[in-house]
């Protein structure tokens, strides 16, 4: 049998009048959805702070390309799953059809928890990347000590937690009030984020090294103790305290790429809404791949401009000084790109707009991750492996209030742990989510062989390069990419690592999911319900 690609709509079939026959969503819609979840802002913030400041010698250009390539493989692997089993609920849907049910729940629990951690991560960074540096920078530009102090105060743990919690609650309110309002708000915020980024790029393009040095020395000099030439003084001070530019190293480049990988995971989140719309393969491919490509391009453009205007050595020395508290060279608040760009513009208005853009990028994650978390919670509840009340939809708001509340509460708890303890200081939860995805991708490698009855109905089942199901090939590549980045995170003690703390989180979270499953299974069994029936295939003959 051979398939011949044809024009859309040229199918040789007869249709009768029947409900449910709809046209596909546009590719643009899926693209906007996916790129909105990449959080270009979190990527820029993390890469331009930790890249030069922690991973000296790491080439950010190569780093983002590596992360982009890996995430593309992972995303396409997940795409194979979602077009084969198009139901919302993330990896729970795929894993429950292909793996032992307790393992499926365990993976889903780990994945959902990781995304709720991302929501907390976003809540943390709205203040630390966005609000605090903006207020400080405006204070510096306006020569207002009270604003500078306010910015410093805002970066303190109490304020970060307080503002973050308020944002989580606001996000929950948006979700409870209805998806129409939520999606409209996301659309507006996405526009603000893009405009803010374009303003940043424009401001960088209009600046020069000499003007930046002059402005930095004028505005930041009085707040540092490195001499009149604060720009070069910072470099000197940092070098006296252990900073150096060792030149390109692969190890540092690979580790720096973890901070690109983190936001790029969002590119594949459209798998979580696979059930609402049965997308054509092409649309989601464009969405996932397009989001990754455009995000990487945006990052590279900004890197080129930042290096040109600010200089790599200065950027590295400044961020190093802040992260290592080098005396006299540490800026009043952490020198996120928002602070430095604001200084560069010497304009309170532009500072505010750039910061607003970053805040918007970060905000896009905040309620979205809660939305994905509550979808998973509802799926568990429908399958009876979670309490019934979390599967219910409010009669008044028509939204899953209990599931949203639980997801928000978990995010706030994560925010507290991330802010106030060293236990969650790193982004170790990436390892948790990535491990869950990688195992699911590995299952995808074998799925066409283990479940040919399901796979043959997939729109991609006819694609067999070299006689091998395309899902097997793509998921295998995705698995390799997932393992590669899991190891990259494993050996990056700053981002995640494998310390006792990191391991206990990683293993504890998986074990926790396993325990919850068995508790629910035994509880249901006492009431005459066999939860395994939710997943078992009924024989056909």
């Amino acid at each position: 049998m051979s398939t011949i690609p044809g024009e859309a709509g040229s199918e040789r079939v007869f249709l009768r009048k029947a409900s449910g026959l709809i046209k596909s969503a546009s590719n643009t819609d899926v693209f906007i959805f996916d790129i909105g979840l990449v959080s270009v802002g979190i990527g820029l913030g993390g890469l331009l702070l930790y890249g030069p400041g922690v991973y000296m010698g790491g080439d950010l250009f190569i780093a983002v390309l590596l992360a982009g390539a890996a995430m593309m493989l992972i995303g396409l692997g997940m795409l194979c799953w979602t077009v084969t089993i198009p139901r919302s609920g993330g990896i729970y849907v795929f894993a429950s059809r292909s793996l032992w049910p307790p393992l499926a729940f365990m993976l889903s629990f780990a994945e959902a928890s990781a995304w709720l951690f991302y929501s907390a991560f976003a809540a943390y960074y709205v203040t630390t990347i966005g609000i605090a540096p903006a207020v400080t920078t405006i204070g510096i530009i306006a020569h207002s000590q009270s604003l500078i102090t306010a910015g410093t105060d805002l970066a303190s743990k109490g304020w970060v937690f307080g503002i973050g919690t308020a944002l989580e609650i606001f996000g929950a309110w948006l979700l409870i009030s209805g998806m129409r309002r939520f999606f409209l708000s996301q659309k507006i915020v996405f526009a603000v984020a893009v405009v803010g980024t374009l303003i940043l790029i424009g401001a960088l393009a209009a600046s020069s090294r000499s003007s930046f040095i002059h402005t930095y020395n004028t505005l930041m000099g009085p707040h540092l103790n490195v001499g009149r030439d604060a720009y070069h003084g910072t470099i000197v001070a940092a070098s006296h305290h252990g900073w150096s530019n060792p030149g390109f190293t692969w190890s540092q480049t690979l580790k720096a790429s973890n901070w690109a990988f983190l936001p790029l995971i969002g590119a594949a989140f459209s798998i979580s809404i696979g059930g609402e719309i049965k997308q054509v393969t092409r649309g989601q491919s464009i969405g996932i791949v397009g989001a990754i490509i455009w995000s990487v391009i945006a990052w590279i453009v900004v890197f080129v401009l930042v290096y040109h205007v600010m200089g790599y050595n200065f950027l590295s020395a400044t961020t190093y000084s802040s992260l290592n508290s080098v005396p006299g060279a540490s800026t009043p608040v952490t020198p996120w790109i928002t602070l430095l760009a604001g200084i560069m513009t010497n304009s309170t208005v532009l500072t505010a707009l750039i910061a607003l853009g970053f805040i918007a990028w970060v905000w896009l994650w905040l309620p979205s991750q809660v939305a994905y978390g509550n979808r998973a919670i509802m799926a568990w509840s429908l399958d009876r492996v979670f309490p019934d009340r979390f599967g219910r939809v409010s009669e008044r708001t028509h939204t899953p209030v209990a599931a949203i509340a639980l997801a928000t509460l978990m995010a706030i708890v994560f925010l507290g742990l991330f802010t106030f303890t060293t236990y969650f200081l790193s982004v170790v939860f990436i390892e948790v989510g990535l491990a869950a995805w990688t195992i699911t991708l590995a299952a995808g490698t074998l799925f066409p062989y283990r479940r040919p009855d399901l796979y043959e109905k997939s729109p991609i089942s006819g694609v067999r390069p070299f006689g091998v199901p395309v899902m097997t090939i793509v998921c295998a590549l995705g698995t390799i990419a997932g393992v590669a980045y899991f190891l990259d995170l494993w050996f990056d003690s700053f981002a995640a690592g494998h310390s006792w703390h990191s391991l206990s989180i990683l293993l504890g979270w998986f074990a926790g999911g396993f325990v919850i499953y068995w508790i629910m299974k035994l509880y249901r069994a006492r009431h005459g319900v066999n939860v395994d029936l939710a997943f078992k295939d009924i024989p056909v003959e």
Partner: protein, 326 residues
Amino acid sequence: MFSSRHRRNSTSRLTLFFATDVHGSTVCFKKFINAAKFYGADVLILGGDVSGKMVVPIARQPDGTHLSSFAGKTVRLDSDEEIANFSRRVADMGFYPQRMTEGEFTELQADPERQHQLFRQLITERIEEWVQWARPRLAETGVKCYAAPGNDDEFFIDDVIGRSGVIELLEMQVVEIDGLEMLSTGWSNATPWKTERECSEDELKAKISEMLTRVRDPALAIFNIHVPPYQTALDQCPELDAELRPVHHGGNPVMTSAGSTAVRELIETYRPVLGLHGHIHEGRGVAHIGPTVCVNPGSNYSEGVLNGSLIRLEDGRVADVQLTQG
């Protein structure tokens, strides 16, 4: 009217298995019949929309090969074995494979009435095949099997199911199931596709109300109504524009309620024990309207996955609902 305090005195347990919207999928129908033994169900109820939506011609070409279509791509089949495998896959997804010559295909393309006749023929043949297959299996289990049509099912379906002898037709009927009375209808409120069994909300209300006159105690009734009640988790589906494209905001699909206000009103008024619904494939879930438990198992028929619901009744009330995907 009897109040709920006049429930039966004896403790009685009954397990129903309800699935719906199989849309011609042979594998889903077979799973439905086998569900009785698999889940230990006492009664099988098949909700509406049993008819498939698409005929897939397999047209013989002058060179001896056959040309067909699948998932937007043209497919060339070179042998009888390939044709058989392709046909089985198509049937499992709920479509109707049909061998013909290229000339016949061309003629059919130009003749909607002939296409309609072909659909009638193939839908009838498919259901009759199902019935033949189900007969010995239902006899073996002794399980009672009911089916109701849906808004997508043309009226001739009723006769095909009704004369089967093994599956009891429920359309506009009130039947007793272990002390509970079940009324059933496949009529729905208006849809953008103007399907066979659509009517206004007032007309739908009148149809259901007529059946209610034949029910002794609505509080001890099961409302097996294809269209779900309005504004519940069971009736959420993608909002469509005038060209039947899903509406998106910021890349996200906008969901809307497509259920029936009449059904909701009647459930709120009469407070039956249970509501069994389908129609909205994405609306998988369980909703509570007052004391009434409403269930829509959803549908994933094209994947060959049978969405169902295992409903345990005890002493005239819903003790548990478990959604399944088998």
